[in-house]
């Protein structure tokens, strides 16, 4: 019998005219690992809440239909009854801590204490979970001192210890680094094999393709496609649903169009699938045009940013940066790579004087950051922080974008024009008069970008700009960044999304142990695949596909096809 059974569920949040879920029917068998995909706002989170009984028990609003969780009719059960059966894990690790327990061990007991489980059984269960999730080493640490990835594992453990039959996760890896994300998905597949039913909403298509047994593609609150990952992720309508394809599928699509791959085969969705298709392709390829990008990197120009043997340490702590030398030409596009906590954010905070070097000098144009306030440097360097909630405070999007311009003393008429341009470049014109907090977090992220772009700085710093964005929103951001490149604005990008990185940056920097270990063009740096992987960088999908075919340091789909083409012809 199905463990989750939903019949014709229609639900609207209070004070919202449009239903978030429309006539949704769904049946999940025990032991499935179901991924929920869809653009932001398609109802992924809402479905997660419905699958755990939070709809209708926690949220008010209009509710219709018949839903059953593990043989219990949801309307007749209470949330406290459903919680131990269907556990829910959220995106933000810190929000899930009880904030009342001094150690991870006691944190895990929180739910069991609420259920009135006896201490001896509690200890047995907690020990088992610590072992199963490989977090025994964290047991005596304070939950507050853990990294995001560790906290998320503890959050999952805290739910699993209640022994739910169903585990629902709403974008559990969005805020984690690649290693943290991989570990979580691996864990989920193991749990699934042990019999727990798992539902996970995520934008990580590669993980879906690898681990899920089934994908639900949501569109406007309805199940648009429902099937095996191989079928759904290669579906023609995927892009209309705001999801996009994995790079493996994209490259294969391009290859089919160019006649390199036979067009009668189903598109691959995984790395292995793509490698297999390329290896067995027998048709002679047509030569394709290789479009190398032109870099505006002038060697004679005065650098816009110059680090002179910069070292930095927080008071009474080990140095974060040690003797960093770095120059950035106007209009150059650079990415900072490296593990979380390696000092990427510390480095970029030197660009606008938020931090000042303990040794050495940072020059912005001809100004040393030592002698200028951050507010003064804001004309030159625009910095988009990771969390838009840390800066948005106005009642409308337009006023928010105008705030920075008013600080710069831009005239009233010029402000209007620049606000409109900035909003237009990020496809936000329709939201100009909207309240930022009426929009969802990913849109607020784009608003925060618009705020900085409007200030027209010479350098734009973006800290993890793609987190939580869906494929369509990433596309909007991409277009805006391409515009910046054309205007000759320099870009410093911090991102774990390495396919996005190689798409926009000609130059990559690898930060490790407080120094810059690798510095060069994308194709140069990607040659050091082992070192990058070791330093916590997930290689771009396109690079990995290249490596699978024996091609080194591939940074773009075009380069891959060109190189493949060439070696293929040589082989003939």
């Amino acid at each position: 019998m199905a463990i989750l059974h939903f019949a014709n569920l229609t639900y609207s949040y209070p004070h919202t005219p449009k239903p978030a879920l429309k006539d949704l029917s769904l049946s999940v068998e025990p032991g499935e690992l179901v991924a929920i995909a869809g653009r932001n706002g398609s109802g992924k989170s809402t479905l997660c809440y419905a699958l755990t009984g939070f709809i209708p028990h926690f949220f008010q609003g209009q509710w219709e239909g018949d839903t059953w969780i593990a043989g219990k009719r949801v309307v007749d059960a209470t949330l406290a009854e459903l919680a131990p059966i269907a556990g829910l894990v959220f995106q933000s690790p810190a929000n899930q801590l009880s904030h009342t327990k001094p150690t991870v061990y006691e944190e895990l007991a929180f739910g069991l204490e609420n259920l009135g489980i006896e201490p001896t059984e509690m200890r047995d269960r907690i020990d088992a979970i610590l072992h199963a999730l490989d977090i025994a080493a964290l047991a005596t640490r304070s939950p507050l001192t853990l990294s995001g990835g560790e906290q998320q594992r503890v959050a999952i453990a805290a739910i699993l210890v209640m022994q739910p039959r169903i585990l629902v996760l709403d974008e559990p890896t969005t805020q984690l680094d690649p290693q943290g994300a991989d570990a979580i998905f691996f864990l989920l597949s193991q749990l699934c094999q042990q019999g727990t039913t798992i539902i996970v909403a995520t934008h990580d298509l590669e993980a879906i393709a690898r681990y899920a047994t089934r994908v639900l593609l949501l569109q406007a609150g309805q199940v648009y496609r429902d099937g095996a990952p191989q079928a759904v992720l290669a579906d023609e309508s995927l892009e209309d649903c705001g999801v996009g394809y994995t790079v493996y599928t994209q490259v294969s699509k391009q290859a089919q169009a160019a006649g390199i791959l036979p067009s009668n085969q189903p598109l691959p969705v995984t790395l292995e699938g793509a490698i297999a298709q390329f290896q067995t392709a027998r048709r002679l390829p047509k030569p394709i045009h290789n479009s190398e990008r032109h870099t505006k990197r002038g060697s004679g120009e005065t650098p816009i940013i110059r680090f002179e043997s910069v070292s930095f340490a927080y008071p009474h702590q080990n140095p974060v940066l040690q003797g960093v030398d770095l120059t950035l030409a106007p209009g150059e596009q650079v990415a900072l790579l490296g593990r979380n906590g390696v000092g990427k954010t510390t480095l970029v905070k030197h660009l606008n004087g938020l931090l000042r070097p303990t040794e050495g000098t940072v020059w912005i144009g001809d100004r040393a950051t030592h002698h200028h306030t951050t507010a003064q440097l804001a004309r030159q360097v625009g910095y988009v922080f990771q969390n838009p909630n840390d800066q948005l405070f106005c009642g409308t999007v337009a006023a928010e974008v105008a705030f920075g311009l008013r600080n710069l003393g831009v005239s009233r008429t010029a402000i209007e024009k620049r606000v409109e341009e900035a909003l237009d470049s990020l496809d936000l014109i329709a939201f100009a008069e909207a309240n930022p907090y009426d929009l969802s977090l990913p849109w607020r992220k784009l608003i925060a970008c618009a705020c900085v772009l409007a200030m027209q700085p010479a350098v734009v710093v973006l800290d993890e700009p793609t987190i939580g964005l869906d494929a369509q929103q990433i596309q909007i951001l991409s277009t805006a960044l391409t515009q910046l490149r054309q205007q000759g604005t320099a870009l410093v990008l911090i991102s774990h999304n390495s396919d996005f990185v190689v798409q926009h940056c000609d130059r990559l920097l690898l930060l490790q142990n407080g120094t810059i270990r690798l510095d060069g063009s994308a194709s140069h740096v990607l040659r050091h695949a082992k070192q990058l992987t070791h330093a916590g960088v997930r290689l771009p999908q396109v690079t990995r596909l290249g490596m699978g075919l024996g091609l080194e340091a591939i940074a773009t789909p075009e380069a891959l096809l060109a190189a493949y083409d060439e070696t293929f012809r040589k082989a003939l």
Binding site: F90, P102, L144, N389, F403
Partner: protein, 227 residues
């Protein structure tokens, strides 16, 4: 008239030995001095000169320093020393987690315990967030120095994101609590057991009785002295 010796006696005879027994004598003394000293700086001159009294000790211009005034300042300061040292001895020797466990074991509702304990762990998180917001707004060209008007303009951009951010987190935090059966009805258990002997229980009741008796007695003294 209330006996001036009581507060001094309790401070020296009970609270300081108790702090020493708890092993927090040094920090308690340091912090008592730290909070009392600035008050003394104002209390002593203000009351010495302005408290009504007849025993004149000194005259400066048309201000007179009286013995009654000086005594009153001492009374206030010694009472404050009792208040401060008692609270400090408690807060320096008890961790929030121990307090939480004890309260739960004594049958206090987990909801109240949550309200009392979770702020301690949230304070560092909110402080970090406040620092990030300051940085983010400065990066947008906001100045935090200047004349009163310029500084006031920075108030809303600093305060609103911090408070809004906290409010926006409330929903997810509430759901996370529900997901861990926080509002489940019925019997609750506790992983950590804090030992509680019969002697300790009697001692607590004894202290409670003493406090009630002492307050009653001092009130009675107060009213009979007026009649």
């Amino acid at each position: 008239m209330v006996d001036y010796g009581w507060a001094t006696g309790i401070f020296l005879g009970v609270l300081l030995p108790w702090s020493a027994w708890l092993g927090v004598l040094r920090p308690v003394l340091q912090r008592v001095v730290w909070v009392i000293a600035p008050l003394a700086l104002f209390l002593i001159p203000i009351h010495s000169f302005f408290h009504p009294g007849t025993t004149v000790l000194l005259t400066i211009g048309h201000f007179t320093l009286t013995q009654e005034g000086l005594a009153y300042a001492y009374l206030i300061l010694s009472r404050l020393a009792v208040l401060a040292s008692a609270l400090l001895a408690f807060s320096l020797s008890t961790t929030p987690a121990e307090l939480a466990t004890t309260l739960t074991q004594q049958g206090v509702s987990p909801a109240f315990t949550y309200l009392l304990i979770s702020p301690f762990q949230l304070i560092p998180e909110v402080r970090t967030k406040a620092a990030t917001i300051l940085a983010a707004q400065q990066a947008r060209g906001m100045e935090t120095a200047g004349n009163l008007w310029q500084r006031s303009r920075a108030l809303v951009p600093l305060v609103v994101p911090l408070v809004l951010g906290a409010l926006v987190d409330v929903e997810e935090r509430a759901m996370a609590l529900e997901a861990r059966a926080f509002r489940a009805q019925g019997y609750k258990t506790s992983l950590v057991q804090i030992p509680d002997s019969v002697a300790q229980r009697w001692f607590r009741w004894g202290l409670f009785g003493f406090t009630v008796a002492f307050v009653g007695w001092s009130q009675w003294q107060f009213f009979t002295s007026r009649i």
